[in-house]
Symmetry: C2
Subunit: 221 residues, 2 copies
DNA sequence: TCACCTGAGATTGTAGACAATCGCCCGAAC
DNA sequence: GTTCGGGCGATTGTCTACAATCTCAGGTGA
């Protein structure tokens, strides 16, 4: 009922988004509708629908009668994004501490355990698991507006920055921080959880910012 | 350059949004693409584009192969919306206090003066002026992600609630609160401005919630 | 009586063609 | 030499028609 059976436009959106987040379509490059449509084997209708959603997610920028371009990675945008994210995710922690359900809590504990178990063997998994953890807490907040804002809008941009600026995200450190956050939530200490989450995200922002700077230096030099 | 010259889809979006926010298309009612397209004198292409944006703004809900419905007003959704709004707008105040430009500050003062001058003669103006005030502060925050989240997403929903649940919003009280908020920002006291804004929005939430309850009672009774 | 299946009608999703607009190149005038 | 204007090619916006899917009424069987 609720689950939307994927349409052609949905699949095209997923493909395009992966291509953008993964850097296959480089930031700033122009998107030719006919070309992309042909490449994906769809007509321009579904493709334009996908483009529109990507514009909403701020992964591309469109100008009427001119066209679409892949969004560029900027330090200023990164700062703005992480600043809002820190505010909203710490808010999510505060809410989650008061109303998280036992099964949600158990699932998050399980996630961290699994993350720890495979931590050294598969560094790739860590990336998705990290997102899953944050996603779980956001869901536990129970605030539908908050959930939609974070997972429906901000997270797509975030993934682009994280994917293109990732390199050894110190999973051990992040894991410890996740554990502390979850413990605070389990204790019902919303303020502590919120503060820990804010620090955790700020640390991530510093790291990503550093990598972005390096990347921009070597691309301009 | 930046200004997007309005296309047919843009105009259709504006019309449809006004019809939804104004209650002409009642909450929960189904939207027949062909019917609406014919009524607005456009084809289904641009209309579908408008529908998609309205879905992003959460003014309608769509299910593939089934159709679109106008979003319903719920007390739970109202609470969630105002909770996130309070968090983000108080954040905007904190930022604005540190980096608002003189001309922005002057413009906001001007706005409040004008609001006070015509306050008793035209109660209708107050509604738009109130939005303009909040809009100005959000802009002054300088955080593009914050601006986009608030004015691009949340505010459309907010307008729907406010328009359909407005009745004597005590403009005098709101005006005084606006003045206090602006004074704090002018003083560079971000924390004070943030707190005042939070209280101001919470007061608005209580008022709107009350009106919504009345409305739902008389519609179900 | 109720649950389930089935088919007609309606509605949405997709494709392809046409119209409108823009960017760019080139030539002319100062 | 530089700047302005016009026209051509390319790209985007829009329309119409067709295909895929859902809804709902009606009937059938337990």
């Amino acid at each position: 009922m609720e689950a939307r059976q994927p349409t052609l436009a949905d699949r095209t959106l997923t493909q395009l988004q992966h291509a953008i987040i993964g850097g296959e379509l480089r930031p700033g490059s122009k998107i030719n509708e006919q070309e992309i449509a042909t490449r994906f084997g769809v007509s321009r209708g579904p493709l334009r629908e996908a483009l529109q959603r990507l514009e909403q997610r701020r992964l591309i920028e469109r100008i009427p009668h001119v066209g679409a371009r892949v969004a560029t990675l900027t330090e200023a945008r990164l700062n703005d994004l992480y600043q809002v994210r820190a505010e909203l995710e710490s808010m999510a922690c505060r809410l989650a501490a008061g109303r998280i359900k036992p099964e949600q809590l158990a699932q998050l504990h399980q996630l961290l355990d699994r993350q720890e178990a495979v931590f050294s063997s598969q560094p790739v998994t860590e990336f998705q698991d990290d997102i899953d953890f944050h996603y779980g807490i956001i869901q536990a907040s129970g605030n539908q507006t908050l959930i939609a804002t974070l997972t429906g809008d901000l997270y797509h941009q975030l993934q682009m920055y994280r994917y293109q600026c990732s390199s050894g995200r110190r999973p051990l450190e992040a894991l410890a921080q996740h554990r502390a956050i979850l413990a605070a939530i389990a204790d019902g200490d919303g303020e502590m959880a919120a503060l820990l989450m804010r620090r955790h995200i700020e640390a991530g922002a510093r790291h990503t910012r550093q990598v972005l700077r390096q990347k921009m230096e070597e691309s301009s030099g």
